[in-house]
Symmetry: C2
Subunit: 586 residues, 2 copies
Amino acid sequence: MAHTVRPPVPDTRADGGALTRFTARHGSTLERAREVIRTREHWSPYAEDPEDPQAYGRGARAAGEASFRRLLGRPFDLGQPGRDGTVGPAPEAGGERSPYGGPLEVSYPHCDPDVLLPAMRAALPLWRDAGPEARAAVCAEILHRINARSSEFAHAAVHTSGHNFLMAFHAGAVHAQDRGLEAVACALAEQTRLPAASLWRKPQGDGRAVTLAKTFTAVPRGISLVIANSVFPTWNSYPALFASLATGNPVLVKPHPAAVLPLALTVRIAREVLTEAGFPADLVCLAAEHPGEGLARTLATRPEVRLVDYAGTTAFGRWLEDNARQARVFTSGSAVNSLLVESTGDYRDMLANLAFSVSLYSGQLCTSPQNLLIPRDGISTDEGHRTYEEIVADLGTALDALLADDTGAAAVLGALLGPPVLERLERVMAGEAGKVAVPSRAVRDPAHPEAVIRTPAVVALDANRAEDRAVLLAEWLGPVVFAVAVDSVSDAVALVSRTTRECGALSVGLYSTSPEVEAAMEAACAEAGVMLSANLMGDWYISQSAVYSDLHGTGMNPSGNAVYCDAAFVSARFHTVGVRRYGGAI
Amino acid sequence: MAHTVRPPVPDTRADGGALTRFTARHGSTLERAREVIRTREHWSPYAEDPEDPQAYGRGARAAGEASFRRLLGRPFDLGQPGRDGTVGPAPEAGGERSPYGGPLEVSYPHCDPDVLLPAMRAALPLWRDAGPEARAAVCAEILHRINARSSEFAHAAVHTSGHNFLMAFHAGAVHAQDRGLEAVACALAEQTRLPAASLWRKPQGDGRAVTLAKTFTAVPRGISLVIANSVFPTWNSYPALFASLATGNPVLVKPHPAAVLPLALTVRIAREVLTEAGFPADLVCLAAEHPGEGLARTLATRPEVRLVDYAGTTAFGRWLEDNARQARVFTSGSAVNSLLVESTGDYRDMLANLAFSVSLYSGQLCTSPQNLLIPRDGISTDEGHRTYEEIVADLGTALDALLADDTGAAAVLGALLGPPVLERLERVMAGEAGKVAVPSRAVRDPAHPEAVIRTPAVVALDANRAEDRAVLLAEWLGPVVFAVAVDSVSDAVALVSRTTRECGALSVGLYSTSPEVEAAMEAACAEAGVMLSANLMGDWYISQSAVYSDLHGTGMNPSGNAVYCDAAFVSARFHTVGVRRYGGAI
């Protein structure tokens, strides 16, 4: 492979051998990551069990909570240049408030972009000249240290995004780390496609040959701005953060005002590791903002910013594409995910799988299914024919069974992200979206009595009614599921296509025992550009995305142009500059 | 490698086994092309000698000329749908005129986009479903047939772009074919990074494992519009044409009105091969335009068009980026290339190399050096110190020696592209750009008395004079070279950086025996984003680009964002859609 013949990294930095240690420590992990992104098999270096003593030590969950508690009620310093103010700690000054109750009372530095951006730009050459392998090793060390503190990150995710703890440990910690490492592995692969050096020899007619000694150097684009969301502040920003950093770009992280802490922790760790490795800490900075400041707009249109990654509303994604013209803009926006229930050979498992899929994190995942399309004449199952009405009722029963116990329900549902989600659910419960077939109920988490937790409402819609179509062709983020009666499979497939093309989708589901129906859905999904999950049962759900294996997004529909993590997501972040030196005619 | 485990291409087309034959015929060529784009070594399957009897048969040059002559004075039919008019044959009706004299009197079909684009879109699914390997084989067969007719293509290039025959045979035929095959190899590599199918197995706590059978399918973006130029109609469009086609996109070629024939031939051959292989011919179409129609603007902003590639002026490239917002736009625009003469150990060879570089095709290559930066105090050489004035005079002597004989000079210079180039040269000769140090002279090609052929003018400029800087910071396409006096190496390096950043550059040159100067230029070129060629001697020139080895462009400066052929150039042309099928908990 080309990357094995690269010259050693020139090491002129005073780092006490840290870079060499990081390179040795993470070499085999990076090699394995590069292998699995080719094979797409299951793998992760980060243990999924928060109580795994080998991975995290004994009592890691409690220790992580204690570490998290120590962060609260005090300033979070980062040592960044250009500090000109403070964000928080009071919520009215930009401080965060836990969806499980109470303000975090953490304050963050606010920095002047006119100081911060030049400092970041000045840090670029040393990082660029270090080369892809050194950058990958530093990134892997950052992720390694984040991983060691996964429980602390999980508690931060609980109290900013409203995840339940296990989901926070997964989506807010280890799976986000996986997405980061995946991006590092992709970046290493993409940057080493060309040899660092090669000898070119062209025979001439006279028996001699022209020779040229060539070098190919990966050169970053410039400062990378990562605008994070509040739902998955780490999972939705680590791909961009690490893809940009690993390809040589300084990264400025602009957190969502409601979820600063997980990214402040991330930036602090990155700055520590960079410093230890002899690189400028300002290669990674945080841009916390004052309430109403609109800092994302200001930063995204700065000439120094050459990459913008954004996860959030489709509308602001479009604004960025229209206005941040000096940058390459990657977006992850809204999604309306559809799922067709056509037939099944395992009715009970299907219902259980569906109930869990629509309940997990209260349907607030970007991959949660919203529109369940069901033939109005019913479906055939291993338990005989089931009518549309029976399926809806049976789904209600499955939801009741899954969410019967408040403590168990809270662990699946997490908390509602904020007042807009609750207001939307209340409008649905008032019948605004259609007839409520399965009502939502409030769940009380004994450990967090202030948390707003609700079970999903199932609303019966009819695909043939114009007003119902208007309802289902919009995103209803939160615990709202539409059971949409359709005339036929072909109508359903057409509706899936239309929804994906018009509203964007990240995930489409299907339950069917018919190869023809599966083929039709597969063709429609290829045409509209969305991943299809067929007949998922047991402990794997449509909303889940397996890092190193599943691509997240396709870049083909309005849900966004970012794909975690394909070659285009990474190769747009750097360029290659060649040098040719004449080597004589020999 | 992932690509070896793909399932066989499903072959439901009635093609008489043609696709199987193409796959067998080109398998090893494609494999070798994939290897050399990794190693960047010298290679080509297309012979550079037009008289090579093994490659092209005896008398190929004359036979090619006869074939070319048979095309003249008659309609060029393509069998495309939606024909609503005729372009040409008269020049005032859009017919081409040879830079070597006389109209070609060929007419082309004009087609209604409202018929053509839907027909192309309808052709997409079968081509998409054929898969990367089948598409690569078809593309390789198209290039193979184009290669067999290289002499005919070269004559077409002579009489549209004004190349001399050998240059036309290279840049207009075999090297363009190389760029096409390079793009096909890159496309095959990029599309097969993920396995077509893989089994994912995740162990569960209970000793069982969740399994998912996954497929990953490359899906094209949509119709690809390739807007060609007149200087290198094939060389500048084959990368895009073949990258788009190989990744599954139908391709609409919009030729420059002055150079339709080489692309009409290309489209005809592509349509023949596609038809033979059982695919719709309308996957490749030509969009000839009426004079003043502005068809590029109309087509580029159509919603069906999802990729636009353009080679031409930077201004129209910007218009496309601003207006074709529904598409991914790749541009190749203007360039102002600089070369610093700082010192040399081989003064005679350097002068000979420089003289040829500025003379080849009358400086009309996008990689031709325009600004020769020379220290005003002179340089050290193996022949002792040389003053600025001596270097300019010696360059004039080297040009005289190279271009002494009219027939030989015509073979190097080719013809001027058109009246604007001649007018610009005449303004320069009138002293408008500065003091003429080496005058241009008219050359008479005995075989083409009507051709407008001129030797290069060398103009003395001073980097310290504001009016001279304004002159050198603009593109003077044609036989115009500026010998720019600079105070110091650091001034020269700064001027190279500024020129590249402000005007765009595709190539920077250096003659120096000093490692420090070389390092400074290398750093400046990495920062500004332009390829550096150091101390080229003998038969390799700064304006040359070795396909499969040199990247053409960096995407970092205003000369354009297209790079022939990096991963980003190809991976943006398709997306990947995954399907996950539950395989049970086993």
